[in-house]
């Protein structure tokens, strides 16, 4: 394992720069960060610049090229001159990465981000559509002339690798309360959640401007300021990614109407020696082509062509053995202008043949450029079996074939700061892990045990099917304490790192932390919508936090806000409520009781209103009233069922008008299964969305029957309470069953059946409840 504090810059050649790290234990063993280089295919540079002279279909040109990571011999020589000839070189094992192409058009910097393959030479294929003749000329000038010189454009790889934090201690903290307050305040001008890159940008801004994020670095003796900046960069990246992933998952999995509200405060100190995912950014300028080369790489054509990058992405080898998970992928593209020679092969075992830029003459038969094509692929597995995909029609110019379509999932749990010693420490951590396998394969909750921190004690779950699997999985951490008690920590569910979400394909790493002492906040806030004449006068409530999995029927923490008079449009009840808890958002909840008085003389009683701890904010407004229904999962037949995913939501007032009684069918599917257009429509029409992931138990362990609660909002003017839900049961035999489309009235809780009958017309359950009857039920404690 390399020592991050030993980084040294190595200059080589005319202008090359890279970095080397010394091994933590062996002073003669060094690691060199490889640098980007343009690939060569069959002796020619993997580069093409095309100028469209008459009909570009909206663009003036196209540039495509492929990069790879290499360790230049001259860089090694330069390093050995400094470090000595008797050193040896180790290799990095990448766990994630992104490649960036920096270029500028008319002096305006642009950056394009691509996910490289994580094996072979980490090939990254770039495709840049050039909108104007000026842009084409800029590229022509950047890559031609001045033979042998450097282009002004550069490529940077930022690859992640596991190592230990040395020479410094870092504390990363996030105060969700500040971010939530900030988000609400600025929501009207900023509402772009849902896309990972955008989310990350937004999260960066929220973390900075709201003051919600903070990174403190303490240097060890003899460490340099440069190390401090690198550790700070790493800390901020870690912080931003953690929050961004939560936000992205919340948006994609629809666990909340305001994704930032789904985030939880945390404060984590990374001591020296903690295993972390370190990033190693390194860049190099691209080169200009010789006159002879230019004749081959630059072409002028009349009409725009179809050009699509096909990539195999992610970890496509079995961890441990490094065996590839399949042999080849044969892709067939259907497009009107190229009906023969339209099949090509990507080779899983060869990183150099893991991508393909597919081209065809542009189709203008409809009068304008037709960007739509259809592709399908056949995966050839090592055991001779194959999988034929359905045809997929798209206009995307980048097609990533991801590990989950190969049916592979690899999730590694690494203990980061678990106190595995002492009388109050942790003896071991049992990790229950589940995901839905392909139909017909047995679905079981697997359990493995972690007994130490760090990579050497890592616990890995891996599955290899020959059929595609979905991107989501769930897990539960059961900490067996030294005093023989148990602490359960269960997040609401995780999305595998498909390229849309993060950069590591299907090889996720989950860092496991100390189970105790999660800094938890609850925020009570009030809105007075100016559209309503009636305002909030007085709020008088008490809140308790329950974690039945860890504390049974007793509340863990309690707080009261007495005689609070909300002022203005938005106000927050003081003092803010902070307490220590266990990270168990999937089944802990808040229980809130009290009275709300309005300016029109009316009042509303919250009596045992309960909401999932996934929401750490309760918003009281002058337009809605809050109720909750219990989700009764006690009847689920866990002898047959492995997992249930329950999605609950309400419709926006506008969507209720638009849809009436006929909701679009896609609303019954999880958001990660929706198309982009459907997801946009779902985001606009669903509100108060929550996902409960109910996980069965591994063999020999009794399933805890934990109550869950859905907090519902009712417009004060509405006579009834309405909401929708859908549940997908994954059976132990690998089959799935869903609830039948139906309307339910007169029932005051959500009762999940032992097992939905099969076959049924799967769909949404529309439940309608009388508010007074529900309030009476809530008073009785459920």
């Amino acid at each position: 394992m390399f020592d991050v504090s030993s980084v040294r810059e190595i200059e080589y050649g005319a202008s090359g720069v890279t970095y080397v790290y010394q091994d933590h234990d062996d002073p003669k063993l060094w690691y060199m960060v490889p640098v980007p280089r343009l690939r060569t295919l069959d002796g020619a540079p993997a580069f093409g610049l095309t100028e469209y002279t008459s009909n570009g279909g909206g663009i003036a040109g196209l540039c495509t090229f492929e990069m790879e990571l290499v360790q230049p011999l001259e860089a090694r020589r330069a390093a050995e001159e400094i470090l000595g000839p008797d050193i040896s070189w180790g290799g990095f094992v990448w766990v994630g990465g992104t490649a960036f192409f920096y270029y500028d058009i008319a002096g305006e910097t642009q950056v394009l981000a691509i996910e490289p393959t994580l094996y072979g030479t980490n090939v990254a294929a770039f495709q840049i559509e050039l909108p104007t003749a000026e842009a084409v000329n800029t590229f022509k000038n950047a890559f031609s002339g001045d033979e042998g010189g450097a282009s002004p454009f550069r490529v940077e790889y930022e690859m992640q690798v596991l190592t230990k934090l040395l020479g410094a201690k870092a504390t990363v903290s996030y105060t969700a309360e500040a971010a939530i307050e900030y988000e609400k305040k600025y929501k009207t001008v900023r509402d772009t959640w849902g896309n990972q890159k955008q989310v990350l940008q937004e999260v960066k801004q929220v973390l900075r401007q709201s003051g919600a994020g903070e990174v403190k670095v303490e240097l060890g003796p003899g460490s340099s300021d440069e190390l401090a900046q690198r550790v700070r960069d790493w800390g901020w990246t870690t912080l931003e990614n953690q929050v961004a992933n939560t936000v992205a998952a919340a948006a994609i999995m629809a666990t909340g109407p305001f994704p930032v509200s789904a985030t939880t405060s945390f404060n984590q100190t990374y001591q020296e020696d903690t295993v972390i995912d370190w990033s190693t950014p390194v860049s190099s300028f691209m080169r200009r082509f010789t006159a002879d080369e230019w004749k081959k790489v630059f072409t002028k054509v009349d009409n725009r062509k179809l050009s699509v990058v096909f990539n195999l992405i992610g970890e496509l080898t079995r961890s441990g053995s490094d065996d590839p998970i399949a042999e080849t992928v044969t892709v067939t593209v259907t497009y009107p202008t190229r009906k023969t020679d339209n099949t090509f092969m990507l080779i899983v075992t060869d990183g150099d043949q893991s991508s393909k830029i597919y081209e065809a003459p542009g189709d203008f038969s409809g009068g304008s450029y037709n960007p739509e094509f259809t592709y399908s692929y056949v995966i050839h597995f090592k055991d001779g079996k194959s999988f034929q995909s359905d045809p997929i029609t798209t206009t995307d110019t980048l097609v990533n074939i991801t590990p989950n379509v190969f049916g592979t999932r690899q999730v590694t749990f690494i203990g980061q700061a678990i106190p595995f010693s002492g009388a109050t420490g942790v003896r071991q951590v049992n990790i229950d892990f589940f995901f839905a396998p392909p139909a017909g394969n047995p679905a079981i909750v697997q359990t493995k045990t972690m007994t130490g921190n760090g990579e050497t004690n890592a616990v890995r779950f891996e599955s290899f099917y020959n059929l595609p699997i979905g991107p989501n999985y769930s897990y539960r951490l059961r900490y067996q304490m030294a005093d023989n008690t148990e602490i359960v920590s269960e997040p609401p569910g995780a999305l595998s790192s498909a390229p849309d979400y993060t950069g590591s394909g299907n090889a996720d790493i989950v860092f496991v932390l100390d189970p105790k002492g999660l800094f938890t906040q609850f925020t009570l806030r009030a809105f007075n919508y100016t559209s309503e004449p009636t305002t909030l006068l007085l709020v008088d409530v008490n809140a308790q936090y329950f974690d039945p999995a860890n504390n049974g029927d007793h509340w863990v923490a309690e707080n009261s806000w007495s005689n609070w008079e909300p002022k203005g449009a938005l106000s927050f009840a003081e003092p803010r409520w902070n307490f220590q808890a266990i990270d168990n958002t999937n089944n802990a909840y808040f229980n809130i009781s009290g009275n709300i008085f309005y300016s029109d003389g009316q009042s509303f009683t919250l009596d045992s209103y309960r909401q999932s701890s996934e929401y750490k904010t309760l918003t009281i407004t002058n337009t809605i009233q809050n109720y909750s229904v219990k989700v009764d999962s006690s009847r689920i037949d866990w002898t047959q069922v492995a997992s249930v995913n329950l999605t609950m939501f309400q419709l926006t007032p506008k969507a209720r008008q638009t849809f009436g009684d006929s909701l679009p069918g896609f609303l019954s599917r999880p958001r990660h299964e929706m198309t982009r257009a459907e997801r946009v429509e779902a985001e606009a029409s669903q509100q108060n969305v929550i996902l409960f992931s109910l996980l069965g138990a591994p063999s020999g362990v009794v399933v805890e029957n934990l109550e869950r609660y859905y907090g519902i909002q009712r417009l004060r003017s509405e006579p009834t309470i309405e909401f929708y839900y859908t549940a997908v049961y994954v059976l132990k035999d690998g089959s799935t069953r869903e609830l039948e489309k139906q309307q339910v009235s007169g029932r005051l809780s959500v009762e999940l059946p032992p097992l939905p009958p099969a076959p049924v017309t799967a769909g949404l359950v529309h439940q309608v409840i009388d508010p007074d009857a529900l309030a009476a039920r809530m008073r009785q404690g459920g």
């Binding site: 305006e108 940077e156 600025y186 940008q201 801004q205 900075r208 401007q209 003051g211």
Partner: protein
């Protein structure tokens, strides 16, 4: 591209920096002598004391409406400028002379204050500019109209500067009315078409000898700054901005400059025959968008100031004093406005920061 995020609170920000005005008034009073220990009287105190007699009396009234000049709603803002090897912090003041008033009323009040501050009428060229921009403001509907600026001149006394809102009025063909003026000042066609650059304010000294054009922009890369500087005939120094931002934020800048709310200004010296010469480029960011809440902004500036030997006394005192701006029962408001990096021709980079400050009582010393 997401829209810039307003800072601090619901009030809108001002696009403002400060460049040296030129006219002089009477020597500044020595407010420290004989009254309080000299060490406690900062250069900002001296400036505030000198400016106090010029300030409209209504600014200190309890019922003075909040101003759009600062996120905190204060009608007065101090700017500090620091550079390695330079003594002091060269404080300047920006002022809303008529909080809550209509833009045309404020423009008249700002004009009057500048006249008084400069001790002379505006030069014909400056007046023509005022008339032209106020005409655009009437056509397009202005937000604030104008602000006034005051600073201490190198030889003592006060100098003034007038800041005029550049209204976003367009011709029938969609071209902004300011486009011709902007191109004439720049002397070159626009660049960075994808960055949504738009001039929003013009600063002018009473003698019309120095103009400063302030722009807002979508997020920029350090390399974009070089493109901008080249357009104005200035040497490319984007790397200096990047380096200072890295020092202030403690992080590497690999992509866009890490702020959602940024802009820049270019100062022009008027030469013979109406020609202009760019003499300074200033990168601006909303301070909170770059560094976070007030305490973190102050911390970053004080750490950098201590490391580089800057005189932070006046700033430190003003920051402590600005806590008085918080009104009872209200949430804390953002007190810092902008943070800038000034690149004047052949000079080392300077760092500037603006801070809302309480209005001193007329004729008295700033507490």
């Amino acid at each position: 591209m997401p829209p810039p995020i307003p800072s601090g609170n619901a009030r809108r920000r001002r696009d403002l920096g400060a460049e040296p005005p030129v006219r002089l008034l009477a020597p500044l009073p020595d407010v420290g002598a004989g009254t309080v220990p000299a060490a406690t009287v900062s250069s900002l105190d001296r400036l505030l004391a000198a400016a106090a007699p010029l300030l409209p009396p209504g600014l200190t009234a309890q019922d003075c409406p909040p101003s759009d000049l600062t996120p905190a709603g204060a009608p007065l803002e101090a700017a500090f400028v620091w550079a390695d090897g330079e003594a002091g912090c060269d404080p300047r003041l920006s002022l809303d002379p008529a909080p809550g008033a209509r833009p045309d009323t404020r423009l008249a009040a700002a004009l009057s204050l500048c006249r008084t501050g400069a001790g002379t009428a505006l030069a014909p060229a400056a007046l023509r500019l005022v008339e032209r921009l106020s005409c655009w403001q009437r056509q397009a509907g202005a937000r604030y109209g104008a602000w006034a600026g005051l600073r201490e001149a190198p030889s003592g006394g006060l100098a003034a500067k007038l800041y005029l809102e550049l209204a976003q009025v367009t011709k029938a063909n969609g071209r902004p009315l300011w486009a011709a003026l902007e191109e004439r000042l720049a002397g070159a066609p626009p660049v960075l078409a994808g960055r949504n650059l738009r001039p929003t304010m013009l600063g002018v000294t009473p003698d019309g000898g120095l103009l400063e054009l302030y722009y807002r922009a979508d997020p920029l890369f350090p390399g974009d700054l070089d493109t901008l500087m080249a357009r104005f005939g200035l040497a490319p120094r984007g790397h200096e901005v990047r380096r200072l931002i890295e020092r202030l934020t403690g992080r590497s800048v690999r992509f866009e400059i890490p702020s959602s709310d940024i802009g820049f200004s270019v100062a022009f010296r008027m030469a013979a025959e109406g020609r202009t010469q760019a003499v300074a480029f200033t990168f601006y960011s909303n301070a909170a968008a770059l560094l976070g809440p007030d305490a973190r902004i102050a911390d970053a500036l004080l750490v950098e100031g201590a490391a580089r030997g800057w005189d932070m006394t006046a700033y430190e005192q003003a920051f402590a004093g600005s806590a008085a701006l918080r009104r009872a029962g209200e949430a804390p408001l953002q007190r810092h406005g902008l943070l800038g990096i000034v690149l004047a021709t052949d000079a080392p980079p300077r760092v500037t920061a603006t801070l809302a400050v309480p209005v001193p009582p007329a004729g008295g010393r700033h507490a």
